[in-house]
């Protein structure tokens, strides 16, 4: 089975979970027998990738990709979308990407085209037009999610709408996302298959937590503080201003908390300001963007991991946190909650409830213990091999339908 897979990033040049998911999915697919041609919008050496052929649609350096505008927020796009002729705008890169696919797709003659998210959807539709191969659109996030409760950028919405209509099959990373695709884009439910993401335990290879990265916080923990961690991009989608309010509410009841906000993003300054406004600035720690050991140590340090998103199609970080023995609190608007039942749930806007849950875990070692232990059985059941098996099934189905 020859798959033309259209992606936007792969580790280490990823800005978030999409690149990680694409990497593991493609690897599991390759092991399941798929032959994959993977297209990236930038040029970089991916020496750790030998399970598929990587194509570079442009000569863009990967570090410049970040400056095109993150794909998280509908708002930041306006200026990047405007000028499609300028090769250094997001729209310009997308246009080059489509041009590249127009040349590549007919040469490759794939059995299936698998496009990830709106950034590659136009290219996916074009590839389908040129080759007649079935198009599978994989939705990791919609513009509806990215803009956090709002409609988002109409151009992005339009691109998504068109591709979802053109797709032969749609994969949603959660029931939550499927619901959005059905309700916000008017797609028939039977067109959409839910395939939850997984976590790759090999990513967490040999590792000794030496308690050094966050030495001061370890000391506070030893002194009885409860460490609440978030690891995310600071965008409107992530519900962090609600979280900050809940943190302040929690401190009113119990003040031995440390709130570790690992990550970076356009809302950082506002969050810093908020922490000071609420008078809890001293309890809130900002790490900036973390990767490698500093990233993994966040999970090792944390007692409680919060996923506070306003609209989160999946939420890979929750699986990672579960693996590291964190007690989980997940907003009901996060898809990962569909597979992690041993976690506390709250509506993203319900700051009192979140405060209550954080205090509850902090004050009850047995609750913390139960959450930690039980969630381990749940995350261990989901693997990328299951994801690959489901995708292969969908490939075969659409392929046979296309051949009829």
């Amino acid at each position: 089975m020859k798959i033309l897979m259209l992606g936007w990033e792969l580790p280490p040049h990823n800005s978030g979970g999409l690149g990680v998911a694409c990497y593991h999915m493609s690897k599991a697919l390759a092991m399941a027998g798929a032959s994959i041609d993977f297209v990236l919008p930038y040029r970089a050496r991916h020496s750790d990738v030998d399970h598929m052929r990587i194509h570079h649609a442009t000569g863009l350096r990967p570090e410049l990709k970040a400056h095109l505008g993150s794909y998280d927020s509908g708002y930041v796009f306006e200026r990047y979308l405007e000028d499609a002729k300028n090769p250094h705008t997001l729209r310009g890169v997308q246009r080059q990407y489509v041009k590249f696919i127009e040349k590549l797709a007919p040469e490759l003659r794939p059995d299936v085209i698998h496009a990830h998210d709106w950034l590659t959807m136009e290219a996916g539709v074009r590839a389908k037009e040129l080759t007649g191969a079935p198009l599978i659109v994989h939705v990791h996030a919609t513009e509806f999610d990215r803009s956090g409760e709002h409609y988002g950028n109409p151009i992005v919405h339009e691109i998504e709408q068109h591709a979802l209509l053109m797709a032969d099959r749609i994969i949603a990373v959660s029931q939550l996302t499927k619901n959005i695709i059905v309700s916000q884009y008017g797609i028939p439910a039977e067109m959409v298959e839910v395939v939850h993401n997984a976590v790759n335990l090999d990513d967490f290879g040999p590792y000794n937590y030496d308690m050094r990265s966050y030495r001061y916080l370890e000391a506070l923990k030893y002194e009885g503080h409860t460490i609440v961690a978030l690891l995310t991009r600071f965008t409107i989608q992530k519900g962090l201003t609600h979280f900050m309010k809940a943190a302040a509410r929690a401190c009113e009841k119990y003040d031995r908390f440390v709130f570790l906000l690992a990550g970076d993003g356009e809302l950082r300054d506002e969050l810093i300001q908020l922490s000071a406004d609420y008078g809890i600035a001293d309890k809130v720690y900002f790490t900036g963007f973390v990767r490698g050991k500093q990233w993994r140590d966040v999970y090792s340090l944390a007692d409680i991991f919060v996923l506070s998103s306003v609209s989160e199609p999946f939420g890979l970080t929750a699986l990672e946190a579960a693996h590291h023995g964190n007690a989980l609190i997940i907003s009901r608007q996060s898809g990962v909650g569909e597979v992690l039942h041993s976690s506390l749930k709250y509506d993203f806007w319900d700051t009192d409830k979140l405060a209550d849950q954080m205090v509850g875990i902090a004050l009850s070692p047995s609750l913390a213990h139960e959450l930690r232990e039980n969630v381990k059985h749940e995350y261990a059941r989901i693997s990328w091999h299951d994801v690959a098996a489901k995708c292969m099934g969908i490939y075969r189905q659409t392929r046979s339908m296309a051949l009829v």
Binding site: Y216, A219, L220, Q273, A281
Partner: protein, 406 residues
């Protein structure tokens, strides 16, 4: 009687906090030293300002003191500046010492660390004034008789404190909202005091030189010595004197040499004296005149911004949080007896750290009024808070609390 002017110049450089992250806490106790190309590199900044401002202005002041018996000047020099000069440009201290040796340059007392300690801890404030007194005695061989609080932050309590501490004169901003119909060109007495005098900055004339001099859009540009002397003369009228208070760095740093600030100042001094007038040091001025009346400033007045209050340092919640956590550590820090720790804590009190967290310019758009080495006030806040946390780590270690007993 000869008309008089008191020129008072303030010399200061802060130790700026380097990009001090969460990952540095408990690992590195170096909050300040960084030797890169950034504007956080204190050595780089000091050497630059030394070249552009300190050396040429010290030299000009020396020339004018040698030339005119009637030229006098007052200077305040922070401990932070002296510490940096000792490390990187000791010739500056020799230069200042020679000015004081003429007997016609007066050194004004203040807090060692250019801090706002007066508003948070009287004990810490007095400790810093005392440290400064001993430092300038050691370095320049002089004992100050005049006092100025950091940023000229003054209220009635400052006046009373300085009076009880035995100072002969205290300096403040001559702010219209306080003065009303009264003129800043008189010597006053702070309300509720017996002996001390109060000198008020003539901000219009001071700012003509300090802020507007090089501004070619200013209707009075270019400012000449003749024009300026005429303004000073008409401002004094029947009054005692005009007080020109400003940053020392006005000369060569805020106003550049190629705009003619040095030659302007030289001509202005020459012409003022040749017209039969004189200069005073601030203590001389206090002695020369009886107070024209009492001045009360219940609310704190500073020499910053159009508001002339403390909001450039303590105006937003980040600044208030930072200051609160900084001073909350006082007792534990002092009790530790750990001199390095106490010293680092005191360097963190320098008011500049709070100033870099100011967000006022975001509303009035006047970015240039708020120079900062950081990319945003939020970065300044994060680095500061992380440094505070490391200080706290060291305190905990000192007292051998379990988790910190590394």
């Amino acid at each position: 009687m000869k008309k008089g002017i008191a020129v008072y110049l303030h010399v200061h450089q802060p130790y700026r906090i380097r990009p001090y992250s969460v990952f540095d806490i408990g690992q590195s106790h170096n909050y300040f030293d960084i030797f890169d190309d950034s504007d956080m590199n204190d050595e780089k900044i000091l050497l630059k300002v030394a070249e552009k401002s300190y050396r040429p202005m010290i030299s000009l002041l020396q020339t004018l003191l040698n030339r005119h018996e009637d030229f006098k000047v007052s200077l305040s020099i922070t401990g932070d500046f002296i510490d940096q000069a000792e490390r990187w440009a000791p010739d500056l201290l020799d230069g200042f010492r020679r000015l004081f040796e003429t007997g016609r340059a007066e050194l004004v007392a203040e807090t060692y660390h250019h801090s706002l300690a007066f508003f948070f801890s009287r004990r810490e404030f007095e400790a810093q004034v005392d440290m400064h007194r001993r430092k300038v005695q050691e370095v320049f061989g002089v004992t100050p008789k005049a006092f100025r609080n950091t940023e000229l932050a003054y209220n009635d309590e400052v006046g009373k404190w300085a009076d009880e501490a035995g100072y002969e004169v205290v300096l403040a901003e001559g702010w219209d909202k306080v003065l009303g119909w009264r003129s800043p060109n008189y010597v006053y007495r702070p309300v509720g005091t017996k002996n001390i005098k109060l000198l008020l900055k003539n901000y219009k004339l001071s700012d003509d030189m300090a802020f507007r001099f090089g501004d070619s859009h200013w209707s009075e540009w270019p400012l000449t010595s003749d024009k300026y002397i005429e303004w000073v003369r008409s401002s004094i009228g029947d009054g005692h004197l005009v007080n020109l208070f400003m940053d020392f760095e006005t000369f060569g740093e805020h106003q550049w040499e190629d705009k003619g600030i040095f030659s302007f100042f030289e001509h202005f001094v020459n012409d003022w004296i040749s017209h039969g007038n004189r200069f005073y040091t601030v203590s001389e001025a206090a002695h020369a005149f009886e107070p024209a009346g009492e001045i009360s400033m219940p609310d704190t007045v500073t020499w910053a911004d159009t508001e002339r209050d403390l909001t450039a340092w303590l105006g937003n919640s980040m600044q208030n949080e930072a200051a609160r956590h900084l001073y909350a550590l006082e007792n534990d820090i002092i009790r530790s007896g750990d001199l390095e720790l106490i010293n680092d804590w005191r360097y963190l009190q320098t008011s500049d750290h709070l100033y870099y967290m100011c967000t006022k310019w975001m509303s009035d758009g006047d970015i240039h009024a708020y120079f900062s080495p950081y990319s945003s006030p939020y970065d300044a806040f994060l680095y500061f808070m992380n440094a505070i946390r490391d200080v706290r780590w060291r305190v905990m270690q000192h007292h051998r609390l379990g988790g910190f007993d590394a």
